[in-house]
């Protein structure tokens, strides 16, 4: 082989190594028990939601039980990685991370709704803004973790944006399963409260997740299973799981999305690995 050919081959190999490392930088599938994300476009990155709303709801097809202590959560979390580039920033130029969640405890059928905004740059990770429904006093909902008589408990979070693509209203509700399930009714909060940046947070590509709270993972047990339903005014697209997860996780498996690219998308979850996408 001529020396020039060897040299050209070496340079070509080096180029191929570089290009593969630079271009192939994002997950293309689900990993383990991480759920996928949902967005308003099918392209790489995110498309902010303009003047619309996307509701994400959990409904049980089998009663939920867990062995971890305290509360478990249904989290509606924007992609942390994308938030670094797309979310509003505080006065020091550090990005916010805005999340919403349903906090529930089975021992007393207690449910609390919350939004929380963090500046992940801060090492102490205390919220820079937050809201808890009814000052953290529980709403007691009969059947909050129950599936019975063909009816499963439902927990729902709906986020709405204005024409500037900012989240201007978040509505929550929880309804118990079974024939005598209770309900919180609809409880909404306008999170535009931050005086320095007008209190505005963009809706970004998000993930729904059943997890623990306060940095503790949830350990679901028994036959815990159900469905996530995503409903929007426009089409919703499923995307791979995020590469940076959150402060808590759970041990559920999530299926692939059905209805991908339509106004109503869904997926199932359970403790069986056969559910995994």
């Amino acid at each position: 082989m001529r020396p020039n050919t060897i040299l050209a081959a070496a340079i070509l190999m080096a180029f191929l190594m570089l290009s593969s490392s630079i271009l192939d930088v994002h997950a293309t599938a689900y990993y383990g028990r991480d759920n996928g994300e949902f967005d308003t476009c099918n392209s790489w990155g995110t498309c902010r939601l303009t003047s619309g709303a996307i509701s994400a709801a959990m409904s049980l097809s089998a009663s939920m039980t867990y062995s971890s202590s305290g509360k478990v959560s249904l989290q509606y979390n924007p992609d942390l990685d994308i938030s670094k580039y797309e979310q509003t920033q505080n006065q020091y130029g550090y990005y916010y991370w805005f999340q919403t969640g349903v906090l529930s405890q089975s021992s007393n059928n207690c449910v609390i709704f919350t939004y929380q905004a963090y500046v992940p740059h801060d090492s102490n990770m205390t919220p820079s803004d937050s809201w808890f429904s009814n000052s953290e006093n529980c709403y007691t909902v009969s059947g909050l973790f129950t599936y019975a008589s063909g009816t499963g408990a439902e927990w729902q979070i709906q986020e709405a944006t204005d024409s500037n693509k900012y989240v201007y209203d978040v509505c929550f509700d929880a309804t118990g399963g079974g024939s005598s399930g209770g309900t919180t009714g609809s409880i909404c909060i306008d999170p535009e409260t931050n005086t320095l940046n007008s209190g505005d947070w963009y809706w970004l590509r998000s993930m729904l997740d059943l997890a623990g709270t306060g940095g503790t993972n949830a350990v679901f047990t028994g036959s815990t299973a159900g469905t996530f339903d995503y409903v929007g005014g426009g089409d919703i697209y499923g995307k791979p799981a995020p590469t940076i997860l959150f402060g808590e996780d759970g041990n559920l498996y999530y299926s692939c999305f059905s209805g991908n690219g339509t106004t109503s998308m869904s997926q199932s979850f359970s403790l069986s690995s056969s559910t995994q996408c």
Binding site: L7, A14, M17, V25, T126, N134, T184, S186, A211, G214
Partner: protein, 239 residues
């Protein structure tokens, strides 16, 4: 013609090694840089990286205010008159850190097309933050009145189906901690009558403090008459 000298095999091998090592170095740098700037790499995409913020379940939050019952099957509301300053004050018993927000709960019933609600947050009587919202744009389902409104000494009171819309006035971030013993006041003002959720666990009473079309820069409840006790919730970080 000068003969072009070809490199020796040893020199060529060394050169190829340098190219390969350089490529590997750049490969590593790209991955390290990617992880430091948040650009995900395929390597860490395969890991469960739980480095994001935790969802606080309330342990580190200081709450104050008047709360509603969590066991009722319906809501009770008070009709706040138009162009009337309605205030609720609380004296904190904890240092406030990070942020301060105070929430009032509107019952979305018969709001009309352009109900403007203005909130003022006062710290020891000085206006620190305002928030004006169009309550008519709420996505909360309309609440149905259950039965008839009742006239009381403080105005109209009625029961409703369960649907509420919270609005806040806030200071975020706080430029400095607010010491315990500080008086925090939320003043609400609306351009048309609006139903406000009543409190069932009351630590402070609410008052009508005169008619106005705007919020005063300083607030004093020296001239006031009792209103119904409103569900008003405050939050801050404990530390």
């Amino acid at each position: 013609m000068k003969k072009v000298q070809t490199p020796g095999r040893f020199a060529l091998t060394i050169f190829c090694l340098i190219v390969a090592i350089s490529a590997l170095a750049v490969y590593g740098a790209v991955n390290v840089l990617g992880s430091q700037t948040g650009k995900p790499s395929q390597a860490n995409a395969n890991q469960h990286s739980s480095s994001g913020p935790a969802l606080n379940s309330g342990q580190s939050t200081y709450f104050f205010g008047n709360s509603a019952s969590g066991t009722s099957t319906n809501l009770s509301g008070w009709q706040m008159p138009a162009n009337t300053l309605v205030s609720t004050s609380f004296v904190t018993n904890h240092t406030l850190n990070g942020f301060l927000s105070v929430t009032i709960y509107v019952i979305p019933h018969d709001l009309g097309k352009n109900t403007q609600l203005t909130l003022g947050l006062y710290v020891n009587g000085a206006l620190k933050s305002t928030n004006t919202v169009n309550a008519s744009q709420s996505i909360a389902p309309s609440a149905s009145m259950l039965g008839q409104a009742v006239d009381t000494s403080t105005g109209k009171i009625a029961n409703f189906s369960k649907s509420i819309q919270g609005y806040q006035a806030a200071i975020s971030p706080l430029s400095s901690a607010i010491p315990s013993g500080t008086t925090i006041t939320l003043v609400a003002l609306s351009n048309s009558p609006v139903w406000i959720e009543l409190a069932q666990a009351v630590s402070s009473h609410s008052y009508e403090t005169g008619t106005s079309s705007s919020l005063p820069e300083t607030f004093s409840a020296s001239v006031s008459q009792p209103a119904a006790d409103l569900c008003i919730g405050g939050e801050s970080n404990e530390a």
